[in-house]
Amino acid sequence: MDALQLRLAHSLRSFRLEVALEVGAETVALVGPSGAGKTTVLRAIAGLFRPEEGMVAVDGRVWLDTEHGVDLPPERRSVGLVFQEYALFPHMTVAENVAYGGRQRVPELLETLGLARLARARPGELSGGERQRVALARALARDPSVLLLDEPLSALDVHTRAHVRAELRELLRRLRLPTIVVTHDFEDAAALGERIGVIVEGRIVQLGTAADLIAAPASPFVAEFAGLNLMPGVARARGDGLTEVTLADGTLILSTDPGEGPVGVVVYPWEVALARSAPVDSTQNHVRGPISTVVPVANRVRVRVGPLTAEITASSAKRLGLEPGQTVVASFKATGTRLVELA
């Protein structure tokens, strides 16, 4: 049975929010443009917002059921909510902030999140990344059944962001709590979420893995949003200045980006060319495999080959006569890749 069950309906200013979602011991990223109702979903789960109609149940316990008049106040819902700007209490130290959620686990949480040294500091003295860890520790101190993160990375600058994202991913995988992460950035969603729900004007238009979304977007909008391949692997520096990344299925990818250890290889689908046989040109990365799906998106086609999705014009697809099952070679340049840290 799924740990978190959720059904919400509420008329917002310009559209109707209608979301149904089930989350197991996994991280689901809700991604979509700002104003799509993502934060409202989190607030409804936490009890900070009461929808016109809805049901929220966690591990079989009902938190909200508008039909039967059940609506537990926030303090009685076992939820850890990390706010967008973290909402740390400015008049309390780091330790006091964390203890506010529950005293028992404070030393352990400060230790796990690398905050022991900062226990007596006040939020005003912390960096963005440190604040985020305090907010996480505080949310976890309550030993919540559900973890909700509202744009956990948006308050950080670009440099801290990549690093904090990797840490967060690692932590979420370790916790194995039903978790919903709200973000407007697909790269964050792909890095953090095991499944991704694309939410547009109050509805989840597609729910699946990052690879599913990019290979077979349900609409041009999703295609635009799910605009990048993110393939996890292990990076190792090569002698010639390039980085070699071994993907889970053994595929080797070369990148001009530096990297070491667990990384995600980011390639834009429009940077990937398809051919019947390996081309003799400047591209260094060739992934040979059978086509699993061919999905038209407006005047383009998304073709999935192994771990990779290519976006080519509809006319090229027709000329090559691409069909699922055919073996093709997907090629892209080492300079067209970017490596992102994944803890």
Binding site: A46, G47, L48, P73, P74, E75, R77, V79, G80, L81, F83, E85, A87, F89, P90, H91, Y100, G101, G102, R138, A139, A141, R142
Partner: protein
Amino acid sequence: MRRLFDLGLALALGIALAFLLLPILALFLRVSPGTLFAQLGSGVARDALWVSVKTGLIAHAFVVGLGTPAAYLLGTRRFRGRQLLLTAIELPLVLPPAVAGIALIAVFGRRGLLGGTLEAAGVTVSLTQAAVVLAVAFVASPFYLRQAVEAFAAVDRTLLDASRTLGAGSFRTFRRVALPLAAGGLGAGSVLAWARGTGEFGATIMFAGSLRGQTQTLPLAIYAQLDQDQTVAIAIGALLVLVSLVVLLSVKLLPSWTRFSSGWPTPFARSASR
């Protein structure tokens, strides 16, 4: 030309300062400090000080005790008629003291709105110390309420939400988050209300009278001593000047003591702008 203008400006400032400060200085110059101190030990001054402190403390307890939760409601919830209520509690601020006096008599006086009920219960308010407390609370509470509403409204709502999701109920959220963060504004409001209450004259003399040891507060004692012993009146005046100075300084300094309240409201700023 420019020099002349600057000279004119300086002259205007000089006259204004002299006009404002000379009377205050005069209190200290007319009588020697020794006499001043001795006169404060006189029976009239001591009695008045006692009445002032006692009624002031009781009134203040009411103002802060009731005003704080009321201001929390007004400062953190949005509901219909809120603006109207905010304006209503400011009305006593602009009311002439004589009107406040007669208004209190109209409610609590023997033939007032509640007078009959109170009398039946064996309680007389008019011309008692209770009347002083009511008069002081009536004129002072808007000063506290206004500042307190602003202070609570300035607390980031997300922090209150965060507290709830961390398992704290409404009361714990109020006590552990809202109250400490609004402390600066509450302190300033409290000091201002105390100052206004201490100086209360008009409503008190009408509603409570000026009975030595009973209802005669410090300002009333000044008035009463005017034709009896002016040095006593001046000594009490000097004492009140010092009290006012302390009030002014603490209102100016309070914000730096409470470095956590984000939006610290300025005393006397228009609160209706929100």
